[in-house]
């Protein structure tokens, strides 16, 4: 039903392009694209190549699917809470471990001049580094710029179906990092089915000490606050840990210059002593004041 709407609406909008707009269009009611208009179709290979590549993919997908079916019968989900044990979700150490991550910066979308990369260090750790530039391109459209981000690929099932990571057995995020004194933003993307929930994200700050010492940051999930498209939302709620689509780290401090964040691993932990469910009080506001 939902995808049908897309096709119905699309030609209508096309017609609207011919008319003269005096004010910018407000797409407040529905989202056309889950990438928010940043989908780059310029470097798309021709259809023939794509078909061939798709067939190659099929082999792996069937493999993945058989694995899933086997798991369905063989394995039971882990329901035991193991206090104090860190389950490493992403450990870096080889080139393969870097492939799961997507590196973006504002220069990719021609909205700034920041650059970022994810590389391996001599010790075999991941190094998320680059240059943050606050310089705003003079195109009259972009107001502010300066961000670099690394993000995992979206969790998926076989045949490129959307999947979710289930982190309900944990209540802490554990990261072993070595930073440069800057603070970074941690993002837990909980993308849902409807366009309203496409940009649901939960954020928290990762403060790094800087210097030659490694630090283990333990951040409870209860501290994460709800935001959408970079704006903190009025109606807060705790992270939906059963619907995690991807995880990301953003360097977006409002100070330009180089940044470097070394990462050993990113893991999860269950700490029974942490009883807090949600760190932010949820006041009742007058009607029609919040979330408008």
């Amino acid at each position: 039903m939902f995808s049908m709407w897309k096709f119905v609406q699309y030609p209508l909008c096309r017609q609207g392009k011919r008319t003269f707009h005096t004010s910018p269009t407000l797409n407040a009611f529905w989202e056309r694209d889950d990438k928010g208009g940043y989908r780059n179709l310029d470097n798309m290979p021709p259809l023939k190549d794509r078909l061939r590549e798709g067939l190659h993919e099929l082999k792996n997908e069937i493999k993945l699917w058989t694995q899933e079916v086997k798991e369905r019968f063989e394995d039971d989900p882990i329901l035991i809470f193991r206090p104090g044990e860190v389950d490493v979700k992403w450990r870096f150490g080889n080139e393969e471990s870097l492939k799961n991550w997507n590196i973006t910066s504002d220069s990719d979308n021609k909205e700034g001049f920041s650059k970022a990369s994810l590389t391996l260090t001599e010790q075999g750790k991941a190094l998320f580094s680059g240059n943050l530039s606050m310089r705003v391109p003079k195109d009259g459209r972009v107001k502010r710029s300066g961000y670099c981000s690394m993000k995992t690929h979206r969790a998926r099932k076989s045949f490129k179906r959307d999947g979710h990571l289930d982190w309900t057995a944990y209540n802490m995020l554990v990261m072993k990092v070595r930073g440069d004194g800057r603070s970074y933003l941690l993002n837990i993307h909980c993308k849902g089915y409807y366009d309203l929930t496409w940009n649901d994200m939960y954020h928290y700050v990762l403060f790094t000490r800087g210097g030659p010492y490694w630090q283990v940051a333990r951040i409870p999930f209860s501290k994460f606050f709800f935001g959408s498209k970079g704006r903190v939302q009025d109606m807060q709620r705790q992270v939906q840990l059963d619907r995690v689509a991807s995880f990301g780290i953003t360097a977006g401090e409002r100070y330009g210059g180089d940044f470097a964040l070394e990462i050993d691993y990113i893991g999860l932990e269950f700490d029974p002593n942490h009883r807090e469910e949600f760190a932010y009080e949820m006041y009742r506001t007058d009607s029609y004041i919040a979330s408008t």
């Binding site: 403060f207 030659p212 004041i289």
Partner: protein
């Protein structure tokens, strides 16, 4: 509308009267064209370059500009939005971008009561949208600069936009979230930050050495070393454990002075150096603790049980990539000042340090310079294209 007209007429009439009184000529008739010519110079709506033209840029001159704008016209003040936007743009040059008083003065320009919606439809569809957006942008700039509004700001916004105004909602959001994040950092620094590099270096070294509670930050002067060329300060940190590790270090093995690495203190880059030794060999025992195939039953064991090995937990300074003996920042970041640092450490209780081969592995932070060049190149290219 009618009231407006009366008001307008009223002012014109009263002015005509004044002029006629001044001219002492009761019969002179005032033409609208003459009036227009007269008023043209006075009422310029264009506010471009007003802030740029000021020579002495400080808070007083900034507030003076706001005062001039306010006092120019009391009844038909116009161009508030344009004025506020141009004022916001020039804040940094006047050094007032972190000053709450200035933001309040800017907001006070807007008329009270005029923009308050009178009915439900007005309230729903953002009454006076440009004026509301202007105030939202002002609040956003405050947020970006880390300026927390106060209770007076709320009453200002309430008087200007009413209870249902979007700027007031923005204010409430700010007052909810900003105090939550204001003191979140585990390594707080004073606000405003001191401009002196020495103080910043001290914060940086204190921050790095916070990893060990026993760390002691000491300040040395290079002048105290007889052969030194530079005259500068050295901020160095060392803890009890590091002292022990350094004294345990074998004389034959080299020690490295590495740097310059960078640490950021609220947007200020500070270079620091590390005194590092080779990493201690890690003894890995490939023994599976869950393996029960090789259990020794003590009943049949003739030999006495072997003593269990006690493994010393490595300190935080013994890392995978080396043992860190000390961290420092110097005023010049030069090789000579680092040599003075080593001499100071030697004087401070490690006479053996003179015998240990010290290798300087220094690198300059060259990336920044390269970037600057490319940026200017890009600029030039763009100018040429246009």
């Amino acid at each position: 509308m009618f009231l407006k007209k009366i008001l307008r007429y009223g002012s014109v009439i009263s002015r005509c009267k004044q002029i006629s009184i001044n001219n002492n000529c009761p019969r002179s008739f005032q033409l609208s064209a003459n009036r227009y010519e007269e008023q043209k110079d006075k009422k310029s709506l264009v506010l471009k370059d007003t802030f740029e033209n000021i020579q002495n840029k400080n808070k007083n001159s900034y507030l003076e500009m706001v005062k001039i704008f306010v006092s120019r016209d009391h009844i038909y003040r116009r161009g508030h939005v344009e004025f506020i936007y141009s004022a916001l743009k020039n804040m940094e040059e006047f050094g007032v971008n972190k000053d709450l008083e200035v933001y309040k003065a800017l907001l006070d320009i807007l008329p009270k009561g005029k923009f308050i919606p009178q009915n439900m439809i007005q309230a729903e569809f953002m009454h006076y949208p440009k004026q509301q957006q202007c105030a939202i942008d002002l609040l956003e700039q405050m947020e970006d600069n880390g300026v927390m509004p106060d209770i007076e700001m709320e009453s200002l916004l309430l008087n200007i936009y009413g209870k249902r105004g979007y700027p007031l909602r923005k204010y409430w959001r700010m007052m909810y979230w900003m105090p939550k994040f204001k003191n979140l950092s585990p390594w707080p620094v004073p606000d405003p930050l001191p401009k002196d590099t020495f103080d910043l270096a001290k914060y940086a070294i204190e921050r790095i050495s916070s990893v060990d509670v026993n760390s002691v930050v000491s300040v040395y002067q290079t002048v105290d070393i007889p052969d030194s060329i530079d005259d500068t300060w050295i901020v160095s940190a060392q803890s009890k454990i590091q002292r022990r590790l350094l004294s345990e270090h074998k004389i034959e093995k080299p020690i490295f002075v590495e740097g310059a690495f960078r640490i950021w203190i609220k947007g200020n880059p500070i270079n620091y150096f590390v005194l590092r030794g080779d990493p201690k060999p890690v003894l890995l025992e490939d023994k599976d603790p869950d393996d029960v195939s090789d259990l020794k039953v003590s009943l049949f064991n003739i030999k006495p049980p072997t003593a269990k090995h006690v493994k010393v937990i490595p300190s935080v300074h013994e890392q995978e990539d080396g043992v860190i003996f000390s961290v420092c920042a110097t005023g010049t970041s030069s090789k000579d000042s680092l040599l003075s640092w080593i001499r100071h450490l030697e004087k401070d209780g490690y006479p053996n340090l003179g015998k240990v081969p010290v290798v300087f592995k220094l690198k300059s932070v060259s990336r920044e310079i390269a970037n600057l060049e490319t940026e200017t190149e890009e600029e030039n290219k763009k100018i040429e294209e246009t």
